[in-house]
């Protein structure tokens, strides 16, 4: 038996129930050293649950697992890590008030008699980060980092000690292509060293590039495992969603007749020291305006300033009238909606019901007489959004925190669709969303645009930006370096502006 045929980790007939919810029904998996094994499935199919079972966060309800031919049933993450498994979690599991270095080295700090050697700790973390080629400052407090940088820290943490099996649960969901490239380089090196890698992602191109084996799961059930050479994107999608999909980026729809062409939003000279500088653009009804840039280029900050959550100099006009938003309520009243990028912190109340989350930004719309909530209308509206976005849940009263990552993202989207905004800001709207749902979201974006909603779309996924946007503003270092449209809208040009090689 050659090394590559050896199974390092296997699981058979694994079941996992969360109360009445059957997250996994009959999972099967064989992972081999030096190969990237991708798990593919829709949102809520059970991928993260599978990984959490592997690293001892949840015990399986039933089933057998083996590691190196030995029975394997980790009771907690420590045991899993001692047995040689490492994981980069989908939902960030970092401590905001500690530094990057302290997070990366958490629980295996260089220490003697329990005393931590801080110098060594920072050195080791800095070395690790440098070796990995990650652009993060190890002394920064994690709470001050952007979501993308936190994801890089999470990756560094997962790689901070050697492992036989490395699990990456949607590591690229908030990375832009250039950071993703760094990660792919790392993966290649680990592969060469014989590390087995379990990889989860919803980005099909990436999957086809990286994977050696691909396991498809659907509704918690094992569907099939294919070698990458023996399959195609189309087939995988069909296996995953149970039907054929021809296109991912739906074509633009005819705009409704009588749409005004006057800009609905005009931004000029928007500046906030240290974050962004002289941001100027305008936005017309029905337009999809993309914002592209590398991590930390300041796009999210601009959007939160537009939404009244940050003070900034400069002028914002809505329908030609100058406005000054003191808070998000003002912005919402002016018809702006904002799908934020960090769903856990800014998007959702994890401990509240789905219904409560979906109506959160549209409370005024469900206010009846004397401040009473109109529960019937709220339920009907929430239900409509749940169905439109195919959010996987069995009740509107489910707590948002128990949904899978991608479904949580859809809830945030639903919440803002419900406000019927005239200007919708989307910050990484498809972060962690599966292909089928992505298509659905794109279709909705198109639909909204055709009805006259103006859309500002921040995305780090270049294909997504190119596939949807009419115009793209490219940000680098807090400034808009170019705005391109039409035939200029090519991947090469956009990347060149983003990285600063073209000015």
């Amino acid at each position: 038996m050659s090394e590559a045929d050896r199974t390092v980790l296997s699981m058979r007939d694994v079941k996992k129930n969360f109360g009445p919810v059957a997250a996994l029904k009959n999972m099967r998996l064989e992972v081999r050293p030096g190969r990237v094994h991708t798990i593919l499935g829709e949102n809520g199919a059970g991928k993260s649950t599978l990984m959490k079972i592997l690293v001892g966060v949840h015990p399986p309800t039933e089933g057998r697992m083996e590691l190196d031919g030995q029975p394997y049933l980790p009771q907690n993450p420590t045991e899993a890590s001692q047995r040689g498994l490492a994981i980069v979690f989908q939902e960030l599991s970092l401590c905001n008030n500690l530094s990057v270095a302290e997070n990366i080295m958490a629980t295996h700090e260089p220490a003697r008699y329990g005393f931590i050697n801080d110098r060594k700790l920072r050195q080791q973390a800095a070395e690790l980060v440098a070796n990995l080629g990650l652009p993060v400052n190890v002394d920064a407090k994690v709470g001050q980092l952007s979501i993308a940088q936190r994801q890089l820290v999470e990756i560094a943490k997962g790689l901070s000690h050697p492992a036989k099996v490395l699990i990456l649960d949607e590591p690229t969901s908030s990375l832009s292509d250039s950071e993703a490239e760094i990660l792919f380089g790392i993966i290649a090196r680990l592969k060469a060293r014989g590390t087995a890698i379990i990889y989860i992602s919803h980005r099909m191109e990436e999957i086809m590039r990286l994977s050696d084996d691909i396991t498809v799961i659907r509704d918690g059930e094992y569907v099939t495992t294919r070698a990458r050479e023996d399959t195609t994107i189309e087939e995988l999608i069909a296996l995953m969603v149970g039907r054929r999909m021809d296109e991912i980026y739906p074509p633009a729809l005819e705009p409704l007749p009588g749409l005004s062409t006057a800009p609905v939003l005009q931004v000029s000279g928007l500046t906030r020291a240290g974050e962004f500088d002289d941001v100027t653009f305008d936005l017309c009804p029905g337009e999809i305006h993309g914002f592209f840039g590398l991590v930390g280029s300041g796009r999210s900050e601009v959007m939160s300033a537009l939404f009244g959550m940050r003070e900034a100099q400069g002028e914002i006009r809505v329908d030609g009238r100058a406005v000054r938003f003191r808070n998000a309520a003002d912005a919402i009243k002016a018809g702006i909606g904002f799908v934020t990028e960090n769903r856990k912190e800014e998007g959702l109340v994890l401990g509240a019901a789905l219904r409560t989350n979906i109506s959160a930004a549209a409370i005024p719309a469900f206010t009846g007489r004397a401040g009473f909530m109109n529960f019937g209308a709220e339920r009907r509206a929430a239900l409509a959004e749940v169905q439109r976005l195919a959010i996987r849940t069995n009740s509107l009263d489910t707590l948002a925190g128990t949904l899978s990552g991608g479904n949580q993202q859809k809830v945030v989207l639903a919440k803002w669709l419900l406000t019927r905004p005239r200007v919708l800001i989307l910050d990484e709207p498809t972060r962690g969303v599966d292909v089928g749902a992505k298509f659905e979201i794109y279709r909705i974006i198109r639909q909204l645009a055709s009805e006259g909603t103006a859309i500002l779309m921040v995305s780090s996924e270049l294909p997504e930006v190119l596939g949807l946007a009419d115009r793209v503003s490219i940000m680098a270092g807090g400034r808009i370096t170019a705005t391109v449209a039409g035939t200029d809208l090519t991947p090469e040009r956009v990347m060149a502006y983003a990285t600063g090689t073209l000015k």
Partner: protein, 323 residues
């Protein structure tokens, strides 16, 4: 994929079951207590005694309603004991202007003290724990100034009737508790104000992004808590025929305990008025029942602690089962 059942009938049909599921543990604790006390003392389960319990629990229950709001926001209000005392004193002194002016002045004083807590917490962004520890001292100091620490007697018959009178055969004080319970319950569970409170307590950042004016809400809720404490202070001073400068001392702990017993999470975002009422009743039944059984004071302390532990444990277990 989405096996969403019809949401409207779902919520209506399982109403009662949902109630049992939600409060099963804590209700069980309350019922157990009552059964035990009834078995041990025949006079426990009499109308007179149950009325007694409700009257005795009134002050803490009303304060706990206000506290529930504050805790739901993820904040805390330790000053309510002192506000109770100040309210009584303001009432006693203002009764010179007549009953209605005194009532209004007292409620206004409660609102003002609550609003100060709220403004300091929301606008200066100080932790509410430390703000209300500070105002707890300040208000307690203030209450003692007019009489130099002595109590102020109350003779106004209308004021005294609040604590001693009856209406339709039920003590007025119980009516007040019921009305305030219904008011707070509806405000919390049926209005947008309540909804905003849950959202903000659950995730302040997300609430801000959803367009909720968190600062205003916070001030409103601390004000509400102050008003509830003022009502509690009115009842207390009426029951005691006097305003005591050390009235309400450490009632904040009882109020918090009632809320937490009733399932309110100190992290914010989770809790109900029904739970708080049950929590307050548990505390009241326990105090009364042990008095009826002549349990010596120190043993009462111990038993009370044990009962609280068992009640929360029953509740936590019931909730785990459900999940």
């Amino acid at each position: 994929m989405t096996q969403t059942p019809d949401p409207i009938t779902a919520s209506q049909g399982h109403r009662l079951r949902a109630l049992m599921l939600q409060y099963g543990g804590i209700l069980l604790a309350l019922v157990l207590l009552c059964v035990i006390f009834t078995a041990l003392n025949g006079r426990f389960m009499t109308v007179a005694n149950l009325t007694n319990i409700l009257q005795q629990v009134a002050v803490v229950a009303i304060a706990a309603f206000g506290m529930t709001w504050v805790i739901l926001l993820g904040e805390i209000d330790l000053s309510i004991g002192s506000i109770i005392a100040v309210a009584g004193m303001v009432g006693a002194l203002a009764l010179g202007f007549g009953f209605v002016p005194a009532l209004l002045l007292t409620l206004a004083a409660g609102a003002l003290m609550g609003a100060i807590n709220g403004v300091l917490t929301a606008k200066l962004m100080l932790p509410s724990f430390i703000v209300t520890v500070a105002t707890m001292g300040i208000y307690r100091g203030l209450v003692s100034l007019p009489t130099n620490g002595a109590p102020a007697m109350i003779a106004d018959p209308a004021w005294l009737a609040i604590g001693a009178g009856t209406f339709l055969g039920l003590p007025i004080i119980i009516w007040i508790v019921l009305v305030l319970f219904v008011f707070n319950h509806i405000l919390l569970s049926r209005t947008t104000f309540g909804r905003r409170t849950y959202l903000t307590g659950g995730n302040r950042e997300a609430a801000l992004y959803s367009g909720i004016k968190v600062d205003r809400l916070k001030i409103a809720i601390f004000t509400l808590s102050g008003v509830m404490a003022a009502v509690a202070g009115i009842l207390l001073s009426s029951r005691l025929y006097s305003a005591q400068t050390n009235a309400g001392m450490s009632y904040e702990l009882d109020a918090i305990a009632a809320a937490v017993l009733g399932g309110t999470s100190l992290a914010g975002g989770v809790g109900t008025m029904v739970g708080t009422l049950i929590g307050a009743l548990i505390i009241g039944v326990m105090n009364n029942g042990m008095n009826m059984l002549s349990v010596p004071y120190f043993y009462q302390l111990i038993v009370k602690g044990l009962v609280i532990l068992i009640a929360v444990w029953l509740d936590v277990r019931a909730k785990q089962r459900r999940a």
